[in-house]
């Protein structure tokens, strides 16, 4: 088995969103939103879409368990389990709802703006003193995954989606921080489950003009240090996810690693939709 097990109510999938909440996430990103605000918006919307996709009448089918882990969000090297729950629990108790303006098709190729209520599960935060303890966050995710696998040995292999805007940094040696993140990521990607190894997908938020590097199959093809780092801590895109990648207009080969460096807003959305798709939207 290699990441081919379908999400189901009997064997739910497990998605862990690792969210960089360091001070630099306060930089402007797009549409008047900073990186933290836009990331939170996309994750909130993704969870709402998962709830919608897994609804049958009034009932939400618990085909996926979701953890949202923030790092740097409480200042310094904090790592927080913001929320870990089944989908139905998210649906039943959001933090709050918020009116958002949303552009929808006008049916003639253009757009029209409407206002709608959106359930919020993750608040944007990026305190100035927040660092980027990515290795520590991956370590926490590893513990969650080991606990999940012990309880759910027959379930789909868990998926981590790490959203960050920088290299790991805990205030000391940047090289040591990078090495820690690489070591922990590799130990996660080497955990064995009945459905293959857990998957790590990484997206790095860039700055205009967003010279993106993505889904490369060889580190030698990547010119920037950020991209090289992400390559090392990202899983090969499993065959079962390649259709989902194609659906989201990503070009992959059999050796592609699941990452984007310097992502623009459209790519961030597509990447999170891809990573949380359960592969080829394989839901039973």
């Amino acid at each position: 088995m290699n990441n081919s097990k379908q999400w189901s109510s009997a064997t739910p999938g497990y998605i862990i969103f690792l969210v960089d909440q360091s001070g630099s996430m306060g930089e402007d990103y797009t549409g008047g939103k900073n990186k933290a605000e836009f990331t939170a918006l996309v994750i909130n919307r993704t969870i709402n879409d998962l709830i919608f996709t897994n609804s049958a009448g009034d009932k939400i089918k618990d085909r996926v368990f979701i953890s949202i882990i923030g790092y740097g969000g409480q200042g310094g090297n904090s790592v927080d389990d913001i929320r870990s729950d089944y989908l139905s629990a998210f649906a039943d108790s959001p933090l709050r709802t918020e009116k958002v303006k949303k552009k929808v098709s006008d049916g003639a190729g253009g757009l029209v703006e409407i206002e709608e209520e959106m359930a919020i599960y993750l608040e944007p935060t990026c305190p100035r003193n927040g660092l980027t303890p990515m290795g520590e966050a991956l370590d926490f995710a590893k513990q969650l995954i080991e606990g999940w696998i012990n309880k759910k040995p027959d379930n789909p292999a868990p998926v981590i989606i790490n959203v960050s805007d920088g290299m790991p940094y805990t205030g000391g040696s940047a090289n040591d921080d990078a090495e820690k993140a690489i070591t922990v990521a590799n130990s996660i990607m080497n955990i064995n489950t009945n459905d293959g190894n857990p998957i790590i997908f990484n997206v790095h938020l860039g700055q205009p003009p967003f010279n993106e590097s993505k889904f490369e199959s060889s580190e030698s093809k990547i010119s920037d240090d950020q991209g090289k780092m992400l390559f090392k801590i990202s899983s090969k895109v499993p065959e079962t996810y390649r259709d989902a990648a194609r659906k989201h207009e990503f070009v992959t080969s059999e050796d592609s690693r699941g990452f984007v460096s310097n992502a623009g807003p459209e790519t961030l959305i597509k990447f999170i939709n891809f990573g949380s798709s359960g592969g080829t939207d394989r839901i039973v």
């Binding site: 919307r45 949303k102 098709s105 459209e266 959305i269």
Partner: protein, 205 residues
């Protein structure tokens, strides 16, 4: 005006022009029969990806050179040169003009679907008009050599002179073509002290 081409092989991927010293940008397009094969995205042929990329680059150049009154600043002159497109080892100057003339005279426009941020964390599809300057072709074989490029550059400078010292060649191709890079690296202007052309090879797989 600055240009950056992604995923390129280049001797200088950043180059800048201005209206005082406009540049010549040669878009050299591989239109040989092998570009008719399906690309790695499994949705387009190589030729289709090349054509989209060229049209998109020209549109971006136009958009990034709109002045405060809506006029196009002629910081560059564009030459699209295709090879193979009209058979055997043919070479064709498809379109050669100032940037503003490109803006005024596309071959046609086409409706394309594009995804944009919907403001609420997702993408929504819109339809917009895309100007087309290059049509999709995949016919002949590569030329025996790329000497025609040298002629094009020298003729250009003969007519335009010192005001156009900066030249760039962006080669949109399926693979590296034998003789292309070495020829251009050894290129010297006819009795002129200009810099060698910036060369970018954008490969499509």
């Amino acid at each position: 005006m600055e240009i950056k081409i992604d995923n390129d092989r280049s001797n200088n991927s950043h180059f800048s022009y201005n209206t005082g010293e406009p540049g010549l940008i040669v878009l050299l397009v591989d239109q040989t029969s092998s570009t008719g094969r399906t690309a790695s995205d499994k949705q387009n042929t190589i030729a289709e990806l090349i054509t989209k990329s060229v049209n998109s680059l020209i549109m971006n150049l136009i958009l990034s050179n709109i002045g405060s009154h809506g006029t196009i600043k002629d910081r560059a002159f564009i030459s699209i040169i295709g090879y193979g497109g009209i058979g055997v080892n043919s070479v064709e100057i498809i379109h050669s003009d100032s940037l503003s003339a490109f803006a005024d005279n596309p071959l046609r426009t086409e409706k394309v679907k594009k995804k944009v941020v919907d403001g609420a964390g997702k993408l929504v599809e819109i339809e917009e008009k895309m100007a087309i300057w290059l049509e999709n072709k995949s016919n002949g074989i590569p030329p025996e050599n790329f000497n025609f490029l040298l002629n094009h550059l020298n003729i250009w400078h003969y007519h335009k002179g010192i005001n156009y010292p900066k030249t760039s060649i962006i080669h949109f191709c399926e693979d590296e073509k034998e003789g292309f890079r070495s020829l251009l690296n050894s290129f010297k202007w006819d009795n002129k002290p200009y810099e060698s052309p910036t060369i970018i090879e954008k490969l499509f797989v």
